[in-house]
């Protein structure tokens, strides 16, 4: 048990380091491209800021301080949970993220759930089946996986929204607005997951305990669902980091395509508008969630599979 605790401790420390690294790298990258952020905030094309306004902004945001001081202030702010004020929206970054996080969480949760569901169904139905069934399913998966998300989204919109008019094309409110986005988000994830799951399932279906189960006269469906499937969940847990990365990347495209509010849209606008505090805030959030999920999975595996405890 001691070794588990030690592992958790190191893991947490490493997580902290990853978050700090992400914050620092983003800070450095964005400051390297902009010598005078006040000009970036107020001097965008179509603006003509007066000297007084620029001087005020430099002072208010601390650009008149040395870079190290700005960096120190920034880190101190993070420690207090203060990510600063968005330059574009003129509201606290935490407030902006708070306003948008719910929509993205909803999209991501249902997207992930649908992806896992589809992957499991696909794998259970097609593992160890006739050659042509496997070929057809993995071929379909390959095609679906290769279609860029926005093309898939536009195709779905054209058919189900603009042609058949069953579903709305924009918006974040009501279950109807969620359907096309979550399908678009889930398909690429589901297709790659089901490839992995199918292989794992086929491997397990060859194990002696499955042969035993069959020998006891269990039906094929009970063998697959009741005995084999449980063992394929370990790779699924390990892959959750990959799933999360896909969810976040997908959200950027999907929220823009389906005109949904959310973190992905916030990020796109922040990057295009050179909104440094917002970009930093979202990067930090993404790093934090990523680290949390990975740590969680790691600890879960440590507890569940004793042999990994010695693999430090």
């Amino acid at each position: 048990m001691k070794s588990v605790l030690r592992r958790v401790f190191w893991r947490l420390l490493a997580s902290l380091a990853v978050c700090w690294g992400a914050a620092t790298l983003t800070f450095a990258a964005l400051h390297a491209t902009s010598k005078d952020p006040a000009l970036t905030i107020l001097g965008q094309l179509g603006s003509v800021p007066t000297p007084e306004v620029l001087a005020h902004a430099r002072h208010e945001y601390g650009f008149d301080q040395p870079l190290l001081v700005q960096y120190g202030r920034y880190l101190a702010g993070i420690a207090r949970g203060d990510l600063g004020e968005s330059w574009r929206l003129r509201i606290p970054v935490t407030q902006a993220i708070g306003e948008q996080a719910g929509a993205t969480a909803q999209l991501a949760f249902f997207g992930a759930a649908l992806a896992v569901l589809l992957a499991i169904i696909g794998a259970v139905l097609t593992a160890d089946r006739a050659h042509w069934v496997r070929g057809l399913s993995s071929g379909t998966e390959l095609v679906l996986h290769s279609i860029p998300t926005f093309v898939l989204g536009i195709l779905l919109l054209l058919v189900f929204s603009f042609k058949l008019r069953w579903l709305p094309s924009t918006g974040s409110e009501g279950w109807k607005t969620l359907i096309l986005p979550i399908v678009t988000l889930a398909i690429p994830i589901a297709t790659s997951l089901s490839q992995v799951l199918r292989q794992e399932l086929e491997h397990i279906l060859e194990q002696p305990f499955i042969i035993m189960a069959r020998a006891r006269g269990l039906s094929e469906i009970r063998v697959r669902l009741g005995h084999a499937l449980r063992h394929t969940l370990t790779p699924l847990i390990t892959l959750s980091g990959y799933i999360f990365a896909n969810l976040l990347g997908g959200a950027v495209i999907i929220e823009n395509l389906f005109s949904r509010q959310g973190i992905g849209r916030l990020m796109t606008n922040a990057v295009n508008g050179n909104d440094l505090p917002m970009v930093l805030g979202i990067t930090l959030l993404a790093a934090l969630i990523y680290v949390l999920i990975n740590s969680f999975v790691d600890v879960l595996n440590t507890i569940a599979v004793p042999r990994t405890r010695h693999c430090e």
């Binding site: 007066t50 709305p168 005109s259």
Partner: protein, 593 residues
């Protein structure tokens, strides 16, 4: 102001693919309807590609002067009240504090919530709005406004002289961080409440565009109590005197507005009585061009303020839809802005040669798909005091361009066909903002210039990098891919070309050509000091002529905006300052609601 910079994710990249998809889908779906002959702008073109006369979009072009019928700016019959307008636009301005942003959306969105002191009439002259009348002192420095006494903010506060004072202070307060309004009223020195409904503004120097800019949507009136007590709340919950009240604002999603039933102070020029016709407006931010268009076609929305021009032909052929493509006042779209202080552009012959080598019709086509009007001079054709006499001075003429470069001494050619002099190749580097969607323009310009042996290199930079170079006090660049500056006054020329507008260590200015011409300075400066229309006409005529001799940059087409909507919607009136739909007058057929 407000050159709209679309997200790099939108239009361009996705658009092309989508067009392809649409084609394939159309092929396997219903047979495409036979398109009615599109109502393309039929016009007689000349050498510069700029049509002389004819119909252009909504406008009528007579001898190069573009005008819109007077009836586009006032109601000719009363509309029918009621109904909800479902509208889309490309981007969320991010903040609704109109004084603190320069976003182009505010041109029409600002009018939902706010009213201005004055309004322009269809000729661009100043006319009353919240101010009933005004006097200007003989020295041109004191403006006395007599205000309406029956106007209230939606929080119940009275609109009065104190409110005007607080608003002008808010615009110029550095804490507001205004990128635009503060500069527009920069000559404003102090204000005085003479009595409850009389306000006196004192300027440091005479500045006749003062009244014009006060009519712009960014300079509307915000509730003074909100400014004083909780200025940060303006960003999300602004309070104005406008015809609508903000009901809900969800960032990057949409906003809804409800009619103010006690509103009865629309600008007299508009000839609108009482509250707005629409009961509610549901506005959604839809970043993808294809979705904005398709959702309008499929009837999910009634109107889009940002119609992608590539769909204009489809819309013109669709009986269910209407489209308006209208010119913004101010400086038209420039594709090049020369640094006239540095070689090779310190030689006016080189600048002229380049202006003659640009195929404007081609550039207008690849950007506007037939909707945009080619343009070779320096003031928008519907700006007040526009003089069309010089519109062809810099017309497309490759032969002339070559001759000018020969005369300038660039006679020899190198192995790649570019001109050389004393062993140096004729060329320059053009700085292009990678975030701007019109990125095919620089490539087309480069191709045009290659034909006369000029090597125009393109350097893509991020916005901060571009701004740093653009506003470097020493003018650290050769040429920029231009842009446009929309303002409702011919003072646009001062903003772009007066030597006072050159960036210095103390000032950010829009004169990126770094043009210093004593004559031009004198005329543009004098125009700010005079109110006499005959004198103004002459001053701006001379300035426009001079610019075609100085060639500070190359303009290519009028800066235009396109709105489209379903046939049941009526958009009888356009904003005199911004040429966008005027929200108070929009109505919907009761049968089709």
């Amino acid at each position: 102001m407000s050159k709209t910079v679309f997200s790099s994710l939108s239009s361009g990249r996705i658009g092309g693919l989508v067009a392809l998809l649409m084609l394939t889908l159309a092929a396997c779906g219903d047979p495409p309807e036979t398109a009615a002959p599109p109502e393309t702008p039929a016009a007689t073109a000349n050498a510069s590609g700029a049509p002389l006369s004819g119909k252009h979009g909504d406008g009528i072009l007579v001898d190069g002067i573009l005008s819109y019928p007077a009836s586009d700016y006032h109601e000719t019959e009363a509309g029918k009240p009621g109904g909800v307008l479902r509208a889309t636009t490309a981007t969320d301005p991010g903040s609704l504090d109109i004084h603190a942003i320069s976003h182009g959306t505010i041109q029409w969105l600002g009018r939902f919530l706010f009213d201005c002191l004055v309004f322009q009439d269809e000729e661009g002259k100043t006319s009353p709005w919240l101010a009933k009348s005004w006097e200007i002192s003989p020295d041109g420095k004191t403006y006395t406004f007599h205000l309406r006494d029956d106007v209230t903010f939606s929080n119940g506060e009275k609109f009065n002289a104190e409110a005007v004072l607080v608003n002008l202070e808010h615009m110029r307060d550095p804490a507001t961080k205004s990128p635009l309004a503060a500069a527009y009223i920069a000559p404003y020195e102090k204000g005085r409440v003479v009595d409850e409904y009389t306000f006196e503004a004192t300027l440091r120097e005479p500045y006749t565009p003062f009244l014009d800019v006060l009519a712009q949507s960014w300079l509307g009136m915000i509730a003074p109590r909100q400014i004083r007590e909780d200025p940060r709340s303006i960003v999300e919950h602004p309070i104005g005197t406008g015809p609508f009240v903000l009901e809900r604002y969800v960032r990057d999603q949409g906003a809804s507005f409800v009619r103010r039933n006690d509103y009865h102070w629309a600008p007299p020029v508009v000839r609108h009585e009482g509250p707005a016709y629409l009961e509610r407006i549901q506005l959604d931010f839809v970043p993808e061009a294809i979705i904005r268009h398709s959702s309008l076609v499929s009837g999910q929305y009634d109107l889009t303020f940002d119609t992608p021009p590539q769909h204009a032909t489809d819309i013109r052929g669709d009986g269910q839809l209407k489209i308006h493509s209208r010119v913004r006042k101010g400086n038209p779209m420039a594709v090049l802005s020369f640094n006239t202080e540095r070689p090779p552009f310190d030689d006016v012959r080189v600048r002229r040669a380049i202006a003659h080598a640009i195929d404007r019709e081609g550039l207008a086509w690849i950007t506007g798909f037939g909707e945009y009007l080619p343009k070779a001079d320096y003031l928008a054709a519907n700006s007040r005091y526009y003089d069309p006499a010089f519109r062809n001075v810099l017309a497309y003429d490759v032969e002339l361009a070559n001759r000018l470069l020969d005369e300038a001494g660039w006679r020899e050619r190198d192995a790649e066909g570019y001109r050389v002099k004393d062993g140096r190749r004729l060329g320059a580097t053009q700085l292009v903002n990678e975030a701007v969607s019109t990125s095919r323009l620089p490539i087309a310009v480069r191709t045009d210039l290659g034909k006369i042996g000029f090597d125009l290199k393109i350097q893509m930079l991020t916005t901060p990098q571009i701004l740093e170079r653009r506003y470097s006090p020493d003018g650290n660049y050769e040429t920029f891919a231009g842009g446009y500056w929309h303002t409702n006054t011919p003072d646009a020329l001062y903003i772009y070309y007066h030597s006072n507008s050159i960036t210095t260590p103390k000032l950010i200015g829009q004169n990126t050509s770094r043009l210093r011409d004593p004559l031009l300075d004198e005329w543009l400066g004098a125009a700010r000091r005079t109110t006499d229309t005959a004198t103004l006409k002459e001053l701006y005529r001379k300035a426009q002529e001079r610019l075609t001799e100085l060639v500070p940059g190359v303009t290519a087409f009028e800066s235009q905006q396109t709105v489209s909507y379903r046939a049941k919607v009526h958009v009888p009136v356009f904003d005199t300052s911004h040429n966008v739909p005027f929200i108070t007058s929009i109505w919907i057929d009761p049968e089709a609601r």
